[in-house]
């Protein structure tokens, strides 16, 4: 639908975006790869030469690695499960006729817009503090001993905070998807005598499948790299050191850049595997 002239103009106009992103991807990634094969300690001697795959084996065999993978998976998995299940239920509830639906939507979506450092700090201090937190007050009121949330139930606490942040997103997307469900389909099923649970399982849920997949994939991408929530609450102690946080500590705290870079490469690989699935789904959508 276009002329040679507009095609060359198009290439020219696409160039800045493409070049910027290409640079943003290639330059630092190449550097990370480069460092990952070096012993590189900026504060203790700098570049100490090539070490082959040493960093990769050291990173993967260090005592912190598997716990970090475990913590990452627990956090990502639990938050996904919580947000998807509650999100579906909440979306169905919000789709029902009620008074003040708009206001409820606003209330429910609000946490998503709270910056991670704020939500982590508010939860940590005002809710989870074992002395002055609201939960402590609540426990006291029932004569129970307050829980030291961030040390005794550290992963649970992080999962709670992060779920609170992401439940709105899941709900909003699932609600949008539910609202796009053709109500005639449900009515037809009702005319055919299908009971409500059956209608949910065989019509609503399959219709939501795509939206759920999207929620899972997008959240996974973001959850794999949660950072501020951990930095502000436990700083990686009490078993909350995720892969992202571990790499961060290696690179910036202990300034072992070679080792950290190898960890970074692992993180990139992990994210790419997930991204591949997301691309498939989104790519299909492009054809529609």
């Amino acid at each position: 639908m276009a002329t040679q002239h507009s095609r060359s103009a198009a290439r020219l106009m696409m160039a800045p975006a493409v070049i910027l992103l290409l640079g943003w991807m290639l330059v630092p990634l190449t550097m990370t790869l480069y460092f990952s094969f070096k012993k590189y300690l900026p504060l203790r001697g700098g570049d100490l030469g090539w070490v082959g795959f040493d960093n990769y084996t050291r990173f993967i065999t260090s005592s912190a690695f598997w716990p970090s993978i475990q913590a990452t998976l627990i956090i990502v998995g639990s938050v996904l499960a919580i947000t998807v299940v509650l999100g579906v239920l909440l979306a169905i509830l919000l789709d029902q006729p009620m008074w003040g639906q708009g206001v409820v939507r606003i209330l429910v979506i609000a946490p998503f817009f709270v910056m991670p450092t704020v939500s982590a700090l508010v939860w940590k201090n005002m809710f989870m503090d074992p002395v002055n937190g609201l939960f402590a007050h609540l426990w006291n009121a029932f004569g129970l001993t307050p829980v030291e949330w961030l040390s005794q139930a550290s992963l649970t606490s992080i999962v709670m905070i992060v779920s609170w942040q992401w439940l709105p997103f899941a709900t909003l997307i699932l609600l949008t998807a539910i609202q796009s469900l053709d109500s005639e389909q449900l009515e037809a099923a009702e005319m055919d005598g299908a009971p409500p649970l059956y209608r949910f399982a065989y019509i609503t849920l399959p219709h939501l499948a795509r939206a759920i997949t999207i929620v899972v994939l997008i959240q996974t991408i973001f959850l794999l790299s949660i950072f501020a929530e951990i930095l502000v609450t436990t700083q990686g102690s009490f078993g909350t050191k995720t892969l992202t946080y571990l790499v961060y500590q290696r690179v910036l705290e202990s300034q072992n850049v070679g080792l950290g870079s190898a960890g970074g490469v692992y993180a990139v690989i992990l994210a790419n595997i997930i991204a591949l699935f997301l691309m498939r789904i989104v790519g299909k959508n492009l054809d529609a």
Partner: protein, 334 residues
């Protein structure tokens, strides 16, 4: 000035050749209509002239100058699109002013031209409205106004009336024809509607699958269609085409006879058949006659109000001097 010449022009989309080599000259001041069934390449041809598509090969000349590589804006042509393509965020005034603004015309001249165009097109009261607040016919007029103020060497129209209802269409048809008489500028007009072609054109170009089937004035096409395709496409109701024994009587592979050139009565005639559907228009009556042994149906146009009932046996008399003869390739001969 506005003479447009296409020399061996072709267009491919990927591997599909939509326009095979094509030669055509559109003379200055002529109202030329491209007509043909949907998908035959009319829009593509128009867009090649406009410069919105590149030709795959060939040369386009405007007033003798090679315009093949000139961008659309510099060709001095104006186009009216099927969807009108008005700028929805601009008032009618701003829409009409846009081409002048792009050309750097000074404000006073702009205003004068806008006022003149608005007056000619009955838009004066609507100049401050947005396109969204106008009716279809008014939008059409704005699109034309936007084209007029450029004072182009030729106007290009792509099915401009197809989004209007029937009554408006007839009105706008007249307005465009009048505009052409007044401006005497070259106009190239694309339509799939042969009635529009017949009523408006100085010259009709009949297209099929990118091929030019015939070029000529409306009456030339009506009286001497070059082949069975043109014969069937031009004229309403369609010409009756008859193969077989009856055609052989005329030493032809196929003969054609227009509905208005067949007389119908109950007494007698060379052909005989049964009345199927009758369409009473008041001024004329169309009969669809079955069981003639000539073709599936023979359409007959009888002047005024003639009443035969469904199932009546009638006799048909073709006027011999109005019979068109075609050979096995579908080409006319005489």
């Amino acid at each position: 000035m506005g003479q447009i010449t296409l020399e061996k022009v072709t267009k491919k989309f990927g591997n599909v050749e939509v326009i095979p080599p094509l030669d055509l000259t559109i003379h200055d001041g002529e109202f030329t209509v491209f007509v043909g069934p949907s998908g035959c390449g009319k829009s593509t041809l128009l867009r090649l002239i406009a410069g919105l598509e590149d030709m795959t090969s060939g040369t386009l000349r405007i007033d003798g100058q090679d315009a093949t590589a000139i961008p659309p804006a510099k060709r001095g042509l104006a186009m009216v699109f099927q969807s009108y393509a008005l700028y929805p965020h601009m008032s009618v005034r701003k829409n009409i002013a846009f081409p002048m603004r792009m050309a750097g015309v000074d404000q006073a001249t702009q205003n004068a031209k806008i006022d003149a165009a608005a007056k000619a097109l009955n838009l004066t009261d609507y100049l401050d409205r947005r396109p969204g607040q106008l009716s279809g016919g008014q939008r059409q007029r704005v699109a034309i106004g936007r084209a007029i103020v450029r004072e182009p060497s030729a106007f290009l129209f792509d099915e401009p009336l197809s989004n209007l209802d029937a009554a408006l269409r007839v009105g706008m048809r007249l307005e465009i024809s009048e505009l052409h008489k007044k401006l005497a500028t070259t106009m190239v007009y694309v339509t799939h509607d042969q009635v529009e072609a017949m009523t408006m054109a100085d010259k009709i170009v009949v297209l099929r699958a990118g091929h030019i089937e015939q070029v000529g004035s409306p009456l030339e096409l009506y009286h001497t269609p070059r082949n069975t395709f043109v014969a069937g496409f031009i004229g309403s109701p369609k010409m009756n085409l008859i193969d077989g024994a009856e055609a052989e009587k005329h030493d032809a592979h196929t003969i054609g006879i227009r509905p208005e050139h067949i007389d119908v009565d109950a007494q007698g005639g060379p052909w005989q058949g049964k009345v199927g559907v009758a369409e009473h228009l008041g001024s004329d009556t169309f009969f669809h006659i079955h069981d003639t042994g000539l073709a599936e149906t023979i359409t007959v146009r009888a002047p005024g109000e003639v009443s035969f009932d469904h199932g009546d046996t009638v006799f048909l008399t073709p006027r011999d001097d109005k019979i068109h003869r075609f050979n096995a390739e579908g080409l006319r001969f005489s």
